[in-house]
């Protein structure tokens, strides 16, 4: 699923030259604070039993707070795909403003 998300979005960097990966410092600054909040949410949800994972279908590698490695990758790859997507739309539709 994570590989699918990477493949589905990463080509935008090269084909449309959206320069998101080039601006990796800004991407890290944009993603990290939000991801940390969602990782806290994930930790709470796992602890409370809101959701759980099939141990036979995950790698079985766990990071801090007992969160599977795939979840940490999710909170990196999904935000990056979202940024690549909005920058791709901005590249194709240059007249659509995001700043006043």
């Amino acid at each position: 699923m994570i590989a699918f998300t990477i493949c589905g979005s990463i080509w935008l960097e090269f084909v449309l030259k959206v320069k998101v990966l080039k601006r990796y410092k800004r991407a890290i600054k944009a993603i990290l604070p939000v991801s940390l909040i969602f990782i806290a949410w994930d930790a709470y949800a796992i602890h409370q039993g809101h959701w759980s994972f099939d141990n036979n279908q995950i790698l079985g590698i766990f990071g801090p707070f007992g969160i599977p490695l795939e979840e940490y990758l999710f909170f990196t790859v999904v935000p990056l795909a979202a940024i690549l997507t909005i920058e791709a739309v901005r590249t194709v539709k240059k007249h659509w403003q995001v700043y006043k």
Binding site: M1, F4, T5, G8, R23, R26, A27, K29, A30, I31, P33, V34, S35, I37, F38, W41, Y44, A45, Q48, G49, H50, W51, S52, F53, D54, Q57, I58, F75, V78, P79, A81, A82, I83, T85, I86, A88, V89, R90, K93, W96, Q97, V98, Y99
Partner: protein
């Protein structure tokens, strides 16, 4: 709190941040809704994969029970909050970047 309550809270928080606190006003822009339409399509696909194969399992006590593409409707709120949160931050950081 249940997943339902947390997901609704997260959506309310990102809406307030976007429109009134950080004032990126992404939610009023075509560029955001076009990007979100692309993102949510892929989200439904990956949600369906992860839930129909029981890779991720949800506690019936934490959700309403309404499902879209096999995944709890709460997942759409969770995804919306994650995407809006990251994009607010990305666009905010770009405001000081001359190239945008």
């Amino acid at each position: 709190m249940t997943y339902t309550q947390l997901a609704i809270s997260a959506v309310v928080i990102v809406i307030i941040l976007d429109l009134y606190v950080i004032k990126t006003c992404l939610l009023k822009r075509k560029v955001f809704w076009t990007s979100y339409a692309i993102i949510v399509g892929f989200q439904l696909l990956t949600n369906w994969w992860l839930t129909s194969r029981n890779i991720v399992i949800y506690s019936p006590d934490a959700i309403l029970g309404l499902r879209i593409a096999s995944a709890p409707v709460e997942d759409l709120l969770f995804g919306f909050a994650l995407v809006v949160g990251v994009l607010i931050n990305w666009i905010r950081l770009g405001a000081s970047d001359k190239q945008h």
